[in-house]
Homo-oligomer: 325 residues x 2
């Protein structure tokens, strides 16, 4: 049984913090961030000691019309470079590629020609073979890779073990445990993390965790899985992300003991850029409707519709959810 | 070492849920709830299976002028009876009495003449002898009693052990671990809970937990301490409570597996009574300023002032906090 690594006072030098604000937060505003927002976040992340910044998706322009989305749905090389130049910093650049939603054989440059460092391949557990095909392709182009297995709370133990063994035999660098529905508790997230970490040890991989805040447990689950050895930790500024949002970066930076991490710049960024976003009507964060889908271990789509319809009849909504179980 | 009791799927019949909305939430609105609010909450709690409802403080009218506060600061017997009648229900009635802030020898009836069932004695750890004097007095009047030792994150291990031994020798029924500053993590809250539970086993007491949500960990810490055997769990509707608030009752009721607990009525109460309260400008809940005092293990008073001054300069606030360390 995997025991806790380190303690609440010591530094874990294996930790990597990844800011996913533009990618997961982009799901709240259709990826329509101003260049100023993205540039200031980039500078803030560098000052904060963040290890990776995810800029968005590399989505297929054949499947998604670029006129319908902000540019961070597509993350063209020149758009990233317009923000980061040659990225003369210690922070690495990540993008996400969804299985089945990207043209991975045409839309990615060799790493030597790109400012991108890491490609995160997101998939459901039945798509692992497709994910591995993409991972090997990206690995051969020279990128770091992750596999983010989504909606893991709906998979069974045998599926998870099989997926971990398949990925263990691949070139992937990091395997992510993704609580898409925000339905895990610290106790269950910790147990799952131990399963992932056992595979990681066997195959020489690292494990990451990506939380959702449906039950106000995003931060709790992040530090609980971290305590057992999970080392890649996703967070976003003020928790900005789909529905109930993610683990808040300010909570995570305030918790980590490594002096390379600093909270100061992010506090200014929140005041100058997150508060105006909220004042403009961009909505995310813990609320009763997301709690209910999280408690029921369900996709938050009904809660998102409830939110966009500006409903507050939680009782009726709960009945609707239970009728559709 | 105490191990987890039960698991995420089973029922723990020793659990008692206590609603502290009027008492801790009263700190947000000067205890000025309408009778309708309190009566509907009372009915909601009964329907929800809540075990205890705390109505407020029994504060000294010599120290606090009744004209300056709503009536739930004082919890006169006739005011409680105006809501609950003879309390013909399975739910018990609790009130809080602060050491040094109540006239305990004049303001409490014998239990046989009162609709109150439980008196919760709140104190700081250096006030344990005074708390025990009150506990013995209330016990002799016929009441159930708790001792809620506040700000425990600032006490050291020897103090805590001494306090637990002193209370162990008293007539108190329940000893509460109170994270007044919202600075505990699930890992540290769990460790502290085990210390309390070891004393509880030795002396035949029960242990309770009262959380604050400064780091968005109120619910996480509640279920973590519960998993080791803590059985009295405080929560409030929508987490209403001082500063960052408490563990949200809707999260706790949705988590507990005992079918006696139900979420339905609370969802209606939130829509009909909590949303209007927020719309009227009553403020509580997780926010950056409370996170910062929680991370620094400090009283939230500066964060409360920051909130009431409607400030948002988090960076300056953080500097001020660090300058006053």
């Amino acid at each position: 049984m995997t025991t806790r690594k380190g303690n609440l006072m010591s530094v874990r030098t294996d930790i990597k913090v990844l800011d996913a604000t533009i990618r997961d937060g982009g799901l709240c505003n259709n990826f329509e961030f101003s260049d100023e927002f993205v540039r200031e976040l980039y500078k803030t992340n560098i000052k904060s000691g963040v290890d990776y910044m995810e800029f968005g998706y590399k989505a297929s322009k054949n499947l998604f019309n670029p006129d319908d989305f902000g540019k961070w749905k597509f993350c063209d090389e020149e758009d990233i470079r317009a923000i980061v130049g040659e990225n003369v910093s210690d922070m690495k650049i990540a993008v996400m590629a969804d299985v089945g939603r990207c043209d991975f054989k045409t839309d990615f440059l060799p790493k030597s020609e790109s400012v991108i460092d890491m490609i995160r391949v997101a998939c459901y557990i039945h798509q692992i073979p497709s994910a591995i095909e993409m991972i090997e392709y990206f690995h051969n182009l020279g990128y770091e890779t992750t596999c983010n297995i989504m909606a893991i709370s709906q998979a069974n133990s045998e599926q998870i073990q099989e997926a971990l063994d398949m990925l263990g035999g691949s070139s992937v660098d990091v395997i992510y445990l993704v609580d898409s529905y925000g339905s895990l508790y610290p106790e269950s997230a910790g147990k799952l993390a131990k399963v992932y970490l056992n595979a990681a040890e066997k195959y020489g991989k690292s494990i990451g965790f990506h939380a959702h805040n449906n039950q106000n447990l995003a931060f709790a689950n992040t530090i609980e899985t971290m305590s057992y050895g999970v080392s890649y930790l996703d967070a976003t500024a003020s928790g900005m992300g789909r529905g109930a949002g993610n683990c808040a970066m300010e909570l995570l930076l305030g918790f980590l003991k490594n002096p390379k991490y600093s909270l100061y710049s992010l506090l200014t960024f929140i005041e100058k850029y997150i508060l105006p976003l909220k004042a403009d009507g961009v909505v995310w964060g813990f609320d009763v409707q997301y709690m209910l889908t999280g408690q029921l271990n369900r996709h938050p789509r009904e809660a998102m519709a409830f939110t966009s319809d500006k409903r507050s009849d939680y009782f009726e909504f709960y009945k609707e959810l239970l009728e559709n179980e």
